[in-house]
Symmetry: C2
Subunit: 199 residues, 2 copies
Amino acid sequence: MNLYSGPINHLIEELAALPGVGEKTAGRLAFYVINLPKERVERLANALTEAKERVHYCRECFTLTDDEICPVCANAKRDHQTVMVVENVRDLAAYEKTGRFEGVYHVLHGAISPMLGVGPADVKIKELVERIGHEDIEEVILATGSSLEGETTAMYISKLIKPLGVKVTRIASGVPVGGDLEYIDEVTLTRALEGRTEL
Amino acid sequence: MNLYSGPINHLIEELAALPGVGEKTAGRLAFYVINLPKERVERLANALTEAKERVHYCRECFTLTDDEICPVCANAKRDHQTVMVVENVRDLAAYEKTGRFEGVYHVLHGAISPMLGVGPADVKIKELVERIGHEDIEEVILATGSSLEGETTAMYISKLIKPLGVKVTRIASGVPVGGDLEYIDEVTLTRALEGRTEL
């Protein structure tokens, strides 16, 4: 049924194809957009095409950047011998926010997931091995998530690169700071116990 | 802090300005968009500008359309003497979906809300009065929402147009079909009682 005019239906369809945006939300957004000033809509449309056109992978670490090499890799003050492997750009941003990591990154753009049919060749693991071959890397910190996929990916990479003579570490998993023990799942609690350190 | 490159930050900003889209969702959407094929991003961007450029108010009922007169108003088979007044285009679409209303509409684009500073002049009430003056309208069905704003708007319009000699009705409010009484609020239950009909 064609309840709205063509351009509205078309916009709703396009918006509903975005992740986490259902038919109703798409409708609300579409009418919101139609009521915005023309310049605002154009700015949004341009931001979309610009981001798509100008952003690509950093040649070194595969994060997204509009330069050839991202600001982190281009920064001579960073420790280029320590590489943190993350699943995606948002995880990189989360660690950058802490301001406590001085090294550089390697963005996998995914994690190995046999369930979803994502194999080692579908993420940037080969590229990591190449970096270890070409660059003077001392330590690789595996900072993939603590999900099944993240753990699998960390294990896989660890087995693959340890023989290359590089130090391989994994970020700690345990009780989040400020977390109330009673609300934390059993797996995390077990991990926290196993990973206990002497004071 | 500039965690991402310029075009990504810009896109996140623009997306985060949409209603119901927070910083995190905007980030997720931005990275999703950047990973889409170029044609898909262009289609989305075009859908936005097209909807904004081509869609405007129907000259008769003020719904959104890309024609001069919307398909409902242009349809000679509809009963042009019965006008249903709705708050917005989504409410119009909801009634069209029922397929049980044969008349035409009048879209207010809002409801009177002293709290939000929306007065009678901010919604298309003057335009409704003009329609009653120029067209041969027998009945005006007030289908504004059953919120305080919807009720206020219905009351205001009723007082304004009854003196013009038009029949004014209000859609029934009561227990939704299939609704479990125990989960329904007291105001609705009271309305349902007051509005009871003889069997």
